[in-house]
């Protein structure tokens, strides 16, 4: 009897938690079929009109495509580089390991706007490259490397410490061990690193606005859509930057 009550309490708690987490997203789906301009109840009627409109919004679709491209590309590169750094930090003793770990995680705590401005200066003033999706991708790689590295490093640190030794003892070379043991066992972490990087990249606005060229990503498109022109978005960011500088 008592056990049953506990189970039902746990279940209710679980349901409430799930609702809290997912209702906002569910509402978004519901409203996408709602026949009204404003996102408010009561629902006024079912429509597929918004989807029809979306199909016609060429620039928006293009910006989604850009976001996916940059997100996937930069996440792959960041996961590879982050994994390499993680293996170095966790598996090897070397002079300055702590310093390296510190330096490589600093991008995590630098405001994206600051990074954006810094990258803009580097790209334009120092190297005079044209801003494009490539520069955006490079910027996203920079903010994603520490994320990927930390995720993979935590997995590597949790390994039973002699699995790799056992593989080498059984005849595997360093690369064979990496391929057969280290990477397969780290796969959940590699996937998590990739997905987290992708989400970060897909969401990233504050830095992107500075280093994007003429191909806006989704975040930028939404800003431009709301405020009219890319210039406003950029000045918005400048305003954010200066207020951040004043505050700090």
């Amino acid at each position: 009897m008592r056990k049953n009550r506990n189970v039902s309490f746990g279940f209710i708690y679980f349901v409430l938690l799930a609702l809290f987490l997912y209702i906002p997203i569910l509402l978004l789906v519901v409203f996408s079929f709602n026949d009204s301009r404003t996102l408010s109840f009561p629902l006024s009627g079912f429509t597929l009109g918004w989807y029809r409109e979306l199909a016609g919004a060429g620039t928006l679709i293009e910006s989604v495509w850009n976001s996916l491209l940059v997100g996937i590309g930069s996440s792959i590169v960041a996961t590879i580089l982050g994994t390499m750094a993680a293996i170095g930090i966790i598996r090897y003793e070397f002079v300055g390991r702590g310093v390296f770990l510190g330096l490589s995680t600093i991008p995590l705590v630098i405001p994206a706007i600051v990074l954006g401005v810094a990258l803009l200066i580097i790209f334009r003033q120092m190297f005079d490259v044209n801003l494009s999706l490539w520069t955006v991708g490079l910027g996203h790689v920079i903010i994603n490397i520490p994320i990927a590295m930390l995720i993979v490093a935590s997995r590597l640190a949790g390994f039973p410490d002699n699995l790799e030794e056992a593989a080498m003892d059984l005849g595997a070379t360093y690369w064979g061990t990496l391929r057969r043991i280290t990477l397969p066992m780290s796969f959940p972490a590699l996937a998590a690193a990739f997905l987290t990087s992708f989400t970060t990249s897909f969401d990233e606005y504050a830095m992107t606005v500075f280093i994007v060229g003429t191909d806006p990503t989704l975040c930028l498109s939404i800003c431009i859509h709301n405020f009219g022109s890319p210039g406003i978005c950029r000045s918005l960011s400048h305003w954010q930057l200066s207020s951040w500088l004043v505050l700090s």
Partner: protein, 367 residues
């Protein structure tokens, strides 16, 4: 020379100290000659350098000085994956993402052994360790003892010249450990591979080994058969670490053809001289095993010189332990077997007794 499976020649290993400063010597000039087909054990307390020495044979550590030879070949430039040695790790180190069959086949897979031969040999190896038919299980589905066997099969399938075992039974419970000790010994007889075994468990070492190296402080103190190690320890450490020993301090008064007379607690006792020569007037320790110590009613005779009082009597089933306080204040422990017909009430606490031993059963130790 050709018959040596492994030779460790004056090997040293220094590790950098945790916070700079002096380097720490984990192994200090260890020399071992391990015969082909031998069950050889390195025994010692934690930090004695036994595991570091094993890891240098495996190739996971590089000696700071000295050289390791396997089958006569110097190993200093040979990486672990090309050494004819395989290791069984303390926590088994089974690959959790592979099945038991894939774990055991790992070495053969690396060597690109044809699939049908690989399958046959995995079956054989699992039969050898009594795990036939377990190929498709995951390591996590097995008990500790079974995982241990998988680790053994995974190493043995490669038919190494030497099998290295790093406290492989440490994680098992006592009963299983005892069973596995005998099983390991039988397995070694059957496969004929040289085993180098590391343990801190003296009973394990004595039970299984052909020869034992007792190590302490990075030095191999004594390398001998279990019987020699137990009966003729060459240092106080070995005598103390293996089994139980009474140590009585005294001064040599006379020596004669391997037997020395020593003044202990004001009385003259006789003891066999140990591995080191002794001189008259030298301060020495007389070491006697409790089971070699006899108790008799008070009164002196040739072999029963020391007098004392029984302080405590502990009945432990097969034996009875008598703790005797000598007139000098030192205590000695005698262990008497409870044989059939023996009167258990022979002595009581507080009784005056004399203790003694046959000169050949005691050893004089100088270090």
């Amino acid at each position: 020379m050709a018959d040596l499976a492994v030779e460790v020649r004056d090997v040293w290993k220094f590790f950098p100290a945790p916070r700079g400063g002096e380097k720490v010597a984990a192994v200090r000039g260890v020399t071992l000659e391990i015969q082909r087909g031998e069950f050889f054990t390195m025994l010692g307390p934690s930090g004695c350098g036994k595991t570091t020495t094993l890891r240098m044979i495996a190739g996971f550590e590089v000696p700071s000085k000295g050289e390791v030879f396997i089958q006569g070949e110097p190993m200093s430039t040979v990486p672990p994956h090309r050494r004819p040695a395989n290791m069984v790790f303390q926590n088994y180190a089974l690959f959790p993402h592979l099945t038991v069959g894939q774990n055991v086949a790992f070495g053969l897979t690396i060597k690109r052994t044809p699939a049908d031969e690989r399958k046959r040999r995995v079956t054989e190896a699992l039969e050898l360790v009594q795990l036939a038919g377990m190929e498709d299980r995951r390591p996590s589905q097995l008990s500790g003892g079974q995982q241990q066997r998988v680790a053994l099969a995974r190493a043995l399938i490669n038919e190494p010249a030497v099998l290295l075992l790093d406290e492989p039974l440490g994680a098992l419970d006592l009963k299983l450990r005892k069973a596995m000790q005998l099983e390991l010994k039988h397995l070694q007889d059957r496969v004929g591979i040289t085993f180098i075994y590391v343990t801190h468990d003296q009973e394990e070492a004595l039970t299984m080994s052909d020869r034992v190296a007792v190590m302490n402080g990075g030095i191999a103190l004594q390398v001998d058969s279990p019987k020699e190690i137990y009966e003729r320890p060459n240092t106080r450490f070995v005598a103390d670490f293996i089994g139980e020993t009474n140590f009585l301090n005294g001064k040599v008064t006379h020596t004669d053809s391997g037997i020395a007379q020593v003044a202990v607690a004001g009385e003259q006792v006789k003891s066999q001289v140990g591995s080191d020569e002794v001189k008259v007037d030298q301060d020495v320790t007389v070491a006697v095993r409790p089971e070699k110590l006899a108790i008799a009613p008070p009164g002196k005779n040739e072999n029963h010189a020391l007098q004392g009082t029984i302080q405590e009597i502990v009945y432990i089933g097969t034996d009875t332990r008598y703790v005797v306080k000598l007139t000098s204040g030192e205590t000695a422990v005698a262990r008497v077997q409870n044989l059939s017909g023996r009167d258990l009430e022979e002595y009581n606490a507080g009784d005056q007794v004399s203790i003694g031993w046959r000169p050949g059963d005691a050893r004089i130790l100088t270090s």
